[in-house]
Structures are given as structure tokens and as C-alpha cells.
């Protein structure tokens, strides 16, 4: 939905996972969506699966970014953070990150290696992001207290309206 809103004012391309549409590029409204799969068939865990999917995401995203100049990379949640941070560094674009929730919210008492890894990925994302969007106060608090993210970096956005997100996009474009 966000990409549809944004496509009214700027050029938007999205890269997403869909095992049934691998390799397809679809125009959804004004948004060009590239669908990818994970070529790595053997994965030990969900974390592994995400990390290997990140390789394919990085390949396709690099291809798109080498073809066209983008101003902003917008990542969603921890699954795409590592790739987005590296793309930001490689292409010198701004990085926006929407945190729909944090690992500390989902599993507050978990001390597993998986949880630790996800938390570390989220922390890295918050550290390198230029702006972080959250949808609710709870996630905001988690970012402030669990990951010590500076408050000025975080923007609360309404899930259905996105005005604040669009404002931030406009600032970069202008």
C-alpha cells in the first residue's frame, strides 16, 4: 500500500519474495514489482533461509540499482536489513527502515541464539538507517529503550495514511 501511495509522487520499484512468481516483473499500479525466490534449497533454520534469501535480494536489487539511480532504499523489518545496509553503503543512497515490530516485542524473554541474531540485525538496521518508521507507540518504546535509537531518527506513521512517510520522502527528493 505504501508503494502505491508513493508511486503517485515518485518512481517506485519493489523487490519481493514469491516462490510462485520467481523471475516475474509485474506492474502493479505504477509500481514495478520484481519477484524472487530463494535458490538455496537446503537451509537449517528460518534465520538461515532469510540470510540466503538476502543474497538473491541483493543480486536483483543491485541489478536494478546499477540500471537506474535511486534516492532511497526502503527496507521492512529485519529480513531485509543486512542487504539494505550494504546497498546503502555501495550505492550511497538514503536508507529508510520501517520496523513493524521488534524481536524484543515479539519474544521479550527469549535468550536463544536466533533471537540474539535477529536483535543484532535490527540494531544494525537502526544504526545505519537515516529514518526509521514505526506504526505504534510500543515499537517506538522498544526502539528507544531496547536498541537506544536516538528519538529524532524515529517517525511514527499511521499504517493507513502514510503522510509522515511521504513527508520524509519529499524532504530527500527536494
Amino acid at each position: 500500500m505504501l508503494s502505491q501511495y508513493l508511486s503517485e509522487i515518485i518512481d517506485v520499484e519493489a523487490v519481493s519474495y514469491d516462490n510462485w512468481q520467481i523471475g516475474k516483473i509485474r506492474e502493479q499500479g505504477k509500481v514495478l514489482v520484481h519477484f524472487i525466490g530463494n535458490p538455496q534449497k537446503e537451509n537449517l533454520s528460518f534465520l538461515n533461509w532469510n540470510l540466503t534469501l538476502g543474497l538473491e535480494l541483493s543480486r536483483v536489487s543491485s541489478e536494478i540499482m546499477n540500471r537506474k539511480n535511486f534516492d532511497i532504499i526502503h527496507a521492512n523489518d529485519w529480513q531485509t536489513i543486512y542487504l539494505a545496509v550494504s546497498l546503502k553503503k555501495a550505492f550511497g543512497t538514503k536508507l529508510f527502515l520501517t520496523m513493524h515490530s521488534t524481536e524484543k516485542e515479539r519474544n521479550p524473554y527469549s535468550n536463544t541464539e536466533f533471537s540474539k541474531s535477529v536483535s543484532q540485525i535490527e540494531w544494525n538496521g537502526c544504526y545505519f538507517a537515516d529514518k526509521i518508521f514505526v506504526n505504534n507507540e510500543r515499537t517506538l518504546n522498544s526502539l528507544l529503550h531496547d536498541y537506544r535509537v536516538p528519538a529524532e531518527k524515529i517517525v511514527i506513521s499511521n499504517t493507513r495514511k502514510y503522510e509522515s512517510v511521504i513527508e520524509e520522502y519529499k524532504k530527500v527528493i527536494e
Partner: protein, 397 residues
């Protein structure tokens, strides 16, 4: 002049296996040949984040990663590696070639290849399939798949031996015409060290004892158990033999085997030794033993040969290619303690044979396994890749 970027998970002083020495020697010789060389590696012990070592730009990244399993740890480690590589590109400039070593740096190499549109070259030092004679569990399957992808994504592949070339072809599906065989090398000057031999020997053996040395990781494929199995027979003829096993790994398991074989008083497990200690120990040895079950190359044999020590190796993998039997070393059957004991006893018994082997072996080191030759051959591979790359649509698009 080429600008080369090596990605490696280990680099001196941080060492896990033989990869660190390989990248160190190759990169410093490349820098000596007037190439601009960048090494991106892991910082594990508070070493400097950037330093220039013998003309090589070494960038180290810090990574404190939770370890759910080894593969997820490696994949996350590569995130830090690729970010450091990008910082290095900004500081030094865009490289002409990205050279990765094993699957451990493949994810970062893969990212840089596609983001910067550069040719990727990989050196495969070992393969999971060979270590355990097949892939038997999910962890191995995942590593195997990542290794296959490493080879698939590489413009050209460097194998350290013909054995590895065929392994990569049959087991990992790499096309033969994509593979170049370039052996590893050794710098014999590094092993010429001055030290008090009498004092040093006291650490391991009595003055009259003969040191039979094994160095390497104490894991199944290195055949430490085969070596221990050969000890009783050697001790029967040479009661003054002392067996020194240097390296870290499953020490307790092998200690138990030594106890079971009744030789525990004649074996010393030194644990992990630093570079200098190891060099001293090889210089003190009377014979160097490499009883591996699986050995893609066998750098330990070269180290022994550099110190002018007779080497007894199992006839497997790259080891079988390094050693010419009864000319520069002795080859014995693999996984065969009796055969190994016969080989060790021969060199302990026959001083003339021992001298003949060490003389020929040292000559071989100087002519075939010197780093200048290896760097030149590697450079030929780079030149070929760059020529193809410059003509390719992939670069233009």
C-alpha cells in the same frame, strides 16, 4: 598493475587453518609484483582495523555474532565483510578483481560482484563433500550447496591440486574448462630460524629421543588415529621415538585412543601452537608425518620439506601429487597404520635414504612451490579473466 581484493575469514596473526598463511603469502608477493592488493578479513583479537603489511592494505572488521549454527554465523559475518569491503573501495578505489577463498567469503564476494559489477575468482582450498566422503546431514548439505554456488558464480576457479579439480568437477558440478590448477606454496626462508635447540627440545622430548611429528587440526580427516595406531610398531623397533602431536581439535578423543593403544607416555599433545613455536618444532623433528584421509593439498608436507625433514605421507588427494615416492618423501597407504609405521621406520632406520629424500624435497620446494611462480600463475588467471570481462556484455550493461 591490477587492483586485487582478497576476501578471507582468516589472516595472520589470526589463524584457524592453512588459509591464513596462503592468503598472506599470495597477497604479499602480489604487492611485491607492483599490484595493489587489498585484504578484507575478520578482526578477532583487537588487532588494528587498518594496516599496511608488506605493501598489502589489510582491512579488518569487527564482528560479534551470535552463533545459532556455523552457517548462519558465517552468513552474518559476511555482512560485516562486505560493508568493510565497500569502505575499502571508497578509500583505495574499485578493484579489478575480487578473489574469494572458500565458501566462507562467498556471500560477500557475491554481493560485491553484483553491486560493483566485477569479476569474481575463487580459490577452493577444500570441499565439504571430500571431508566426510559425501554429505550426510543438513549442515553439510547446506555448506555443499553454498560451495556449488561459489563455483557457479565464479568467473574462474583456482584449485590447489588436480585432485581438487576433479573433486570440484564430479562432486560440485564445476565445468572443467573453468578450473585452473595452481598449487599452494611455501617460503623456506621463513623456516630458517635461530634458537636454542637443546633447550627447546626439552619441552617435548629427552635429548636422545627421536621426534616423530604430526602437525594439523586434530580432526577425523587428518588421520591422527591412524598415526597413533602406528606407534606401537614403531616403538617396538625404536623405543627412543617420541611422538609429538601439535594442533587443536578433539584432543581428548585422541588422548583416549593413545591410552587404549598403550602409548600415552610416548605421546605429547601440545595443543595449538603459534607460528614461531611450530617452526621451531618442525626444525626439531626427525620425521614429519602427514597421515591424512582427505587432503586437498597438504601444506604441512611442504613445511616439513622446507625444514629439510623427511616426510612420510598417506597417498591421498593433493599429498599424493606433491610427493614422488622414494625421491622426495615416502608415500604410504591411507588409513593404514601398519603401512605408515613401515614408512616411518624406514626413514628412522636409513639415514642415507633420509638425506636423499630431504635434498630432493628441498630442491622441489625451490623450483615448484615458490611463491613467485604461484603469484605469476595466479596473475595469468587474472589477466585472462580481465580480458574476457572487458569484452563481456555483463560489464557493458
Amino acid at each position: 598493475m591490477k587492483r586485487i581484493m582478497h576476501l578471507t575469514w582468516e589472516f595472520p596473526p589470526h589463524k584457524v587453518g592453512g588459509l591464513a598463511s596462503h592468503v598472506y603469502d599470495l597477497s604479499r608477493i602480489q604487492a611485491k609484483r607492483k599490484d595493489e592488493v587489498i585484504v578484507i578479513t575478520r578482526n578477532s583479537n583487537g588487532f588494528s582495523e587498518y594496516e599496511k603489511i608488506e605493501g598489502v592494505h589489510v582491512f579488518r572488521f569487527n564482528s560479534n555474532i551470535p552463533e545459532e549454527d556455523f552457517v548462519s554465523w558465517t552468513l552474518q559475518m559476511n555482512f560485516f565483510m562486505q560493508n568493510k569491503a565497500i569502505s575499502a573501495v571508497k578509500k583505495i578505489g574499485k578493484p579489478d578483481i575480487i578473489h574469494i577463498h572458500d565458501w566462507l567469503s562467498f556471500p560477500a564476494g557475491f554481493f560485491l560482484k553484483h553491486a560493483l559489477r566485477l569479476p569474481l575468482i575463487s580459490t577452493m582450498h577444500a570441499a565439504e563433500y571430500g571431508r566426510f566422503n559425501g554429505v550426510h546431514n543438513n549442515l553439510q548439505k547446506m555448506i555443499h550447496e553454498l560451495e556449488c554456488r561459489t563455483l557457479f558464480e565464479s568467473w574462474r576457479i583456482i584449485a590447489c591440486s588436480n585432485f581438487m579439480k576433479w573433486q570440484m568437477h564430479y562432486n560440485l558440478g564445476a565445468p572443467l574448462d573453468k578450473i585452473n590448477v595452481i598449487p599452494n606454496g611455501v617460503d623456506p626462508k621463513k623456516f630458517e630460524i635461530d634458537f636454542n635447540r637443546i633447550e627447546e627440545k626439552k619441552k617435548y622430548a629427552l635429548p636422545y629421543e627421536k621426534i616423530v611429528l604430526f602437525t594439523g587440526r586434530l580432526v577425523h580427516e587428518k588421520g591422527v588415529d591412524v598415526f597413533i595406531g602406528a606407534m606401537p610398531s614403531i616403538l617396538y623397533e625404536f623405543p627412543d621415538a617420541k611422538f609429538v602431536i601439535a594442533g587443536g581439535g578433539f584432543t581428548d578423543d585422541f588422548r583416549r585412543i593413545a591410552e587404549y593403544c598403550g602409548v600415552k607416555d610416548k605421546v605429547i599433545f601440545t595443543g595449538y601452537l603459534d607460528d614461531l613455536e611450530l617452526k621451531k618444532l618442525i626444525n626439531l623433528a626427525d620425521v614429519v608425518v602427514v597421515p591424512s584421509r582427505y587432503e586437498p593439498f597438504g601444506i604441512v608436507a611442504l613445511e616439513g620439506m622446507s625444514c629439510r625433514k623427511p616426510v612420510v605421507v598417506s597417498d591421498t588427494g593433493g599429498l599424493g601429487e606433491i610427493i614422488e615416492h622414494e625421491r622426495d618423501g615416502l608415500k604410504v597407504w591411507k588409513e593404514h597404520s601398519e603401512s605408515l609405521s613401515i614408512g616411518i621406520k624406514r626413514v628412522l632406520r636409513d639415514k642415507e635414504l633420509s638425506n636423499w629424500l630431504t635434498k630432493n624435497a628441498y630442491e622441489k620446494i625451490l623450483t615448484k612451490y615458490n611463491w613467485d611462480l604461484i603469484a605469476k600463475n595466479t596473475d595469468d588467471v587474472y589477466s585472462r579473466v580481465l580480458e574476457e570481462y572487458n569484452k563481456s556484455d555483463w560489464k557493458k550493461n
